[in-house]
Symmetry: C2
Subunit: 345 residues, 2 copies
C-alpha cells in the first residue's frame, strides 16, 4: 500500500471517522461548551499545522473564537509555559508522538484548561496527555507524506464545529463529504496530464485565501516532499507585499480558488498575473468557464459550502504532486531524507 | 536616499524612537497593565508580520502571554468579528494604511478592548483607529523594501515588554541596541563578498528558531523582494517535517544562529546538513570558531540578550540581500512589480 492508494482511501477514511469518531467529537464539543472558553490555542507541526490553520478559520468564522497557533519552542526551548486562561488547547498530530506538541498539551493540562488531542494513534503520548481524544480512524498511514490523515483531521475539526454549534445543517454538510471527495478523485487524469506537461517544474508559488489558505500551505508542502519543488505558499494578501517581485513570464503559479465571495479578489489577482506577467497558472476550482483562471484547471465538484471545501480542494493537489513526483523520477512513497515520524523538540 | 542609506540609518532611527517614542510606549504598557489582559492578538502584513512574530515570542517568553496572529480576512472577506474578551489588540504597519489591519483594530476598538497601533505614520487610518499610538520616528522610508521601519518595530515591542514588566535591566539592554546595531553594520564587507560569490543564487531555504524565527522570515522576504530569490523560511522544527526532501549538494541554506541554549539544536542540525548533504551554508552568528557553521559566516557582536538579538541579527541579512540584488543587476531601491504601500483587503 503506497501513497496513491492512501489518496484513494480518503472517502472511506472520512466515512469511518464520521461514524466511529462521532461520539468522541461530541464529547469534546460538550467540554468546550461547558468550560468558559474565550479563545483556542492549537499546537501542531508539518501537515497537521495546516489542519491547525483550517481550525483557525473555521472556529473564527463560525464561532467568533480567536484561535492562536502555538509556538511550542517557548515551552521546549525557553522553558516557559504560557498562562492559559479562558482557553481550550488542541493538539494535532497523526503519530501523536511529537514531543513539542505533547509539551504544550501537558502544560495546558497542568493548568486545568480543557485539552483535546486529534490523532490517528490511540495510546500515543499526545492522546495520553489530553482530556479528550479524537481518534482519526484513518487506518495506518504508511507513506511518509500525509494525505488521509490530513483530510480526516480537517473533517474532525469540521464536525467539532458543527456539534459545537448544535447545527444540524452543518452536520449534514459534513456527512456529505465522503461522496464529494470520491467525486473529486475523478480529476486524476487531468492532474496527471497537467503534471506531465510540467516535468521541469522546480519552483512555484502557491496561492490560496481564507479557508483555502490551509490548502495552499498543504499543497506547497506536498510539492516539496514528493516532487522536490521549492514551493512558496502565500495568502493572496501577503503575496502582494513583496513576493510579487519574483514573477516573470512562465513562472509557475498554483492557486486554489473555489467559488465564493471570499475568492473573487484572488481570481481578479490571478487574471492580472496572467495578463501582465504571463505566469503559468494551474488552478483548483469548481468555476467552469472563468476565463481569468486560464485553461490549466483541475475541477472539483461544486455545491460544497465554502468552509468545507478545503476537504475537497486538497485532493487534486495531492494527485498533481504525486504525478509530478513520478514524472520526475522521485519515489512518492519514500521521499528523500524525511521520516514518517519526526520527533522535534 | 535609497535602501543602502536607510539600512545605515537604523542606529539613529532606533535612538530617536527610544527618546521620542518612550512616553507613548509607557502609556501603552500602562493600558495593558490596567486592563485585565489574558492574551494578545497582533494584526500585520508583510514585513510587519515578522515584527508580529517577534512580539509573539517576546510577550510569550517574558510575560507568559499567549499571542495570536490575526487572520484579517475573517473580518474583511467573511464579515465576522472575532469576540475579543480579555485581550489586547496590536496593529503593526509602517504606512498605517492597510485596510485589513485597520479593520481588525476597528473591530477591537468597537468591543472596547485596549488597542495599540505601531506605525511610522502619524494620523494614518491605523493610528486613528487605536486607543494608543506608538509612532516609530524612523523618518520617511523611501525604498520599497522595509528596513529601518522593521528594526524600529522590533525595538518598540522590546521596550513595551521592558516597561510592561517594569524591568530596568531589560530597559537598559534595549537602550544599548543603537550601538550594537552600529557595530553590526561593520559586517558589510563580508556580506558583500559572500553575496558576490553567490551571483547565481536563485533559491534557498532560510532557517531560524525561537526569537530568530522572525529574522529567518524577514531575511527570506528581503531575498525575494530585492534579489528575486525564491526563499523558503522555516523554523528548524518544521523544516524537518518535509522540506528536508529538497536538499542536495550545493543547495543554499541561510541560517540565523546566535549564541544561546535555544540555538544549540539548530547548530547541530546545520552541522548535519553540511556533513550529509554538502549544502552551501551561510550563517549569521556571534559564535566564533564554531566549525559546524562552516566558513561563510556574517558575524554580529556578542553579549546581547537572546530576546533582543533579532534587532541586530537582521542587519547582515539586509546587507547580504542588498549586495546580492546589486550583483544580480536588480535595482534595490525599486524592486519589480511591488509598491511601497499595499492596500490589501
Amino acid at each position: 500500500v503506497g501513497l496513491r492508494e492512501e489518496i484513494g482511501e480518503q472517502p472511506a477514511a472520512i466515512r469511518r471517522l464520521l461514524v466511529e469518531g462521532r461520539e468522541a467529537i461530541a464529547r469534546a464539543a460538550a467540554a468546550i461548551r461547558a468550560a468558559d472558553v474565550e479563545s483556542v490555542l492549537v499546537a501542531a507541526r508539518g501537515t497537521s499545522d495546516h489542519a491547525a490553520i483550517y481550525a483557525q478559520y473555521v472556529l473564527g468564522a463560525r464561532h467568533r473564537l480567536p484561535v492562536g497557533l502555538a509556538t511550542p519552542s517557548l515551552v521546549t526551548l525557553y522553558g516557559v509555559e504560557p498562562a492559559f486562561r479562558h482557553m481550550a488547547v488542541i493538539g494535532i498530530s497523526q503519530s501523536g508522538a511529537s514531543p513539542d506538541v505533547v509539551a504544550v498539551l501537558g502544560a495546558a493540562h497542568r493548568q486545568r484548561v480543557p485539552t483535546i488531542a486529534i490523532t490517528n494513534t490511540r495510546g500515543s503520548p499526545l492522546a495520553e496527555s489530553a482530556d479528550h481524544v479524537i481518534e482519526l480512524h484513518a487506518g495506518e498511514e504508511r507513506a511518509v507524506a500525509a494525505t488521509k490523515t490530513y483530510t480526516t483531521e480537517l473533517v474532525a475539526i469540521a464536525l467539532l464545529s458543527a456539534l459545537l454549534a448544535d447545527d444540524q445543517e452543518a452536520a449534514s454538510d459534513v456527512e456529505a463529504l465522503p461522496a464529494v471527495v470520491e467525486a473529486a478523485l475523478e480529476v486524476e487524469s487531468t492532474a496527471r496530464q497537467l503534471a506531465t506537461e510540467r516535468a521541469g517544474l522546480d519552483r512555484c508559488v502557491v496561492l490560496g485565501r481564507g479557508f483555502e489558505y490551509a490548502t495552499a500551505r498543504e499543497w506547497a508542502l506536498k510539492m516539496k516532499e514528493l516532487a522536490r519543488v521549492i514551493a512558496d505558499p502565500y495568502s493572496a494578501a501577503d503575496f502582494q507585499h513583496g513576493p510579487l517581485a519574483l514573477l516573470e513570464a512562465g513562472f509557475p503559479v498554483l492557486a486554489v480558488v473555489p467559488s465564493g465571495n471570499a475568492q473573487d479578489g484572488l481570481v481578479e489577482l490571478l487574471g492580472r498575473l496572467s495578463a501582465e506577467f504571463g505566469v503559468d497558472l494551474v488552478t483548483v476550482t469548481d468555476r467552469v468557464g472563468e476565463s481569468r483562471l486560464g485553461a490549466a484547471t483541475m475541477q472539483i465538484p461544486g455545491g460544497t459550502p465554502d468552509w468545507l471545501t478545503p476537504v475537497v480542494s486538497i485532493v487534486p493537489c495531492q494527485l498533481f504532486a504525486y504525478h509530478l513526483a513520478r514524472r520526475k523520477g522521485e519515489d512518492p512513497d519514500a521521499p528523500r531524507h524525511i521520516r514518517k515520524v519526526t520527533l522535534t523538540r
